[in-house]
């Protein structure tokens, strides 16, 4: 075992303890620093006009683009989580029809690439030219399935299929005894789910859900293909006009990093919230 400096014992009798010398680590650190210098230098002298990057960093179109990316992500996750909770509960049901329906949904939407789903939703008008609710209304499908709606449906429904597995593992992580305790004090199924099971399941659910949200922020960039005005679409509109391709892509990269950095910090807070009951305890005795 490698010892840190502060772990080196002070002294005993006439001996002095001396820390180990980690040649391998020094070599690795040196190599990393060298590569870092080379990388920074390459980008500094490369053909990127950094002032242009700065110029477009707060461009109104770029800002509108990142806001649209975030907006779409929030709604997609809302749709996804709603579908996922329903699906997870259906998978846990004793009714075989509910169970198989949920399983089929998960299978279908996890098997088809997300880009393909996006294109299918956007082009649904080719199969169904009009959407009709009998006696109420009938509209051309293209008017309903705008780029935004198509992206929301494609990402939301696919996300639901993935997140269902996360919610399910969360529910399974809470022991049967908790449900029994909840119903034995007179709670209904929904009360026990909301007050007892879900708050505990969240400890298992939040970390992967945070990762999926971060993943979804990035997936929304695919919606630029169907002309949804998210940040990459905005950047492309600008560089098609002025030719500053790399500079505008760097602007996008900057904003993605900022948003995802903030999300990661937020995720840390949420995780701490759901772990609060185990703080300050040496032993977890009651996890049955």
């Amino acid at each position: 075992m490698a010892a840190n400096l502060q772990d080196v014992p002070q002294a005993g009798d006439d001996y002095i303890f001396v820390g180990k010398i980690h040649y391998g680590r020094y070599l690795a650190v040196g190599t990393i620093l060298l590569l870092l210098v080379l990388l920074v230098r390459a980008f500094a002298v490369g053909k990127i006009a950094w002032p242009v990057v700065g110029e477009y960093l707060f461009d109104p179109d770029i800002m509108a683009g990142i806001v649209n990316s975030i907006f779409l992500t929030i709604l997609v996750m809302a749709v996804g989580i709603t579908l996922a909770v329903g699906t997870a509960l259906m998978v846990a049901s004793t009714n075989p029809v509910l169970r198989y329906t949920a399983r089929t949904y998960m299978f279908v939407f996890r098997s088809i690439p997300i880009l393909l789903q996006l294109l299918i939703w956007y082009n649904l008008a080719l199969i169904f030219p009009r959407m009709t609710i009998p006696f109420v209304l009938s509209v051309p499908t293209t008017e309903v399935l705008t780029p935004f709606v198509a992206a929301l449906l494609a990402f939301g429904i696919a996300q639901g299929a993935y997140t269902a597995e996360v919610i399910r593992s969360g529910l399974l992580s809470v022991g049967q005894g908790q449900t029994e305790a909840a119903v034995s004090i007179g709670m209904t199924y929904w009360q026990s789910l909301r007050r007892v099971i879900m708050p505990q399941a969240m400890r298992v659910i939040v970390p992967p859900l945070g990762n999926e949200t971060i993943g979804m922020i990035k997936y929304t960039s695919l919606a630029s293909i169907i002309q949804y005005r998210e940040i990459i679409y905005s950047a492309q509109s600008i560089y098609f006009a002025n030719g500053r391709v790399i500079e505008l892509l760097m602007v996008c990269a900057f904003w993605y990093a900022i948003v995802i950095g903030l999300l990661s910090i937020g995720q840390g807070y949420v995780e701490r919230h759901y772990n609060r009951s185990s703080r300050g305890s040496a032993a977890q005795r009651n996890d049955q």
Partner: protein, 254 residues
Amino acid sequence: MTPIVQVSNVSKSFGALEALKNVSCDVMEGEVVCIIGPSGSGKSTLLRCINHLERPSSGIVRVGGEIIGYRAEGRRLHGLSDRQLAAQRSRIGMVFQQFNLFPHMTVLENVVEGPIRVRKEAREIAHERAMQFLGRVGLAHKTDAYPSQLSGGQQQRVAIARALAMNPSVMLFDEPTSALDPELVGEVLLVMKELARSGLTMIIVTHEIAFARDAADRIIFMDAGQIVESGPASSILSGAQHERTRSFLAAVRH
């Protein structure tokens, strides 16, 4: 006087396993009944049938005269809705072997959860009553602790307070001391003896023969899914009629 708990011809099968075979027994108001017997004899299953955590395969359980889990219309029994069954269960307290406290809630939150969410008590009143119950189990000073910060004995006493807070007409204890370290068993049994003296109706599945002798009005001995015999604690423990009871008692006393 009618019994508060009436178990009539209850059977329960899990697949091919017959856990209970046509069991009948009554418990009077204020009575303390201990159910003893070897593991796998159906003791816990019987207890769990009383508050419908297990649905009997056949037979009827009544608590306070009401059929548990069903509504009778003439000779037909209709299964109760989730909400109606919850209302019945709210009047039957249960204490589990593994405590099953809600780990994400403090001690006080555990105790007021049922009164506030189920009985719709006002928050201040629920808190005040919770403090009384926590005082009764000797844990009024632990209100803000989380279950993981408590010993097993303390957790089980909180679980007892949580069940008491619903003002149950009967309390079911499913091996309440079996998961405890030996030195923590006494404090839980002490609380239970106190409750027994206060006139609470209690049905206790236990392996603590000494406790049964001190606290129980009646002992039921079960084996292989059936009640072998039942009677006053003293007569079962010192003068059991059946060979099976005598050999079980000899084995647990060694």
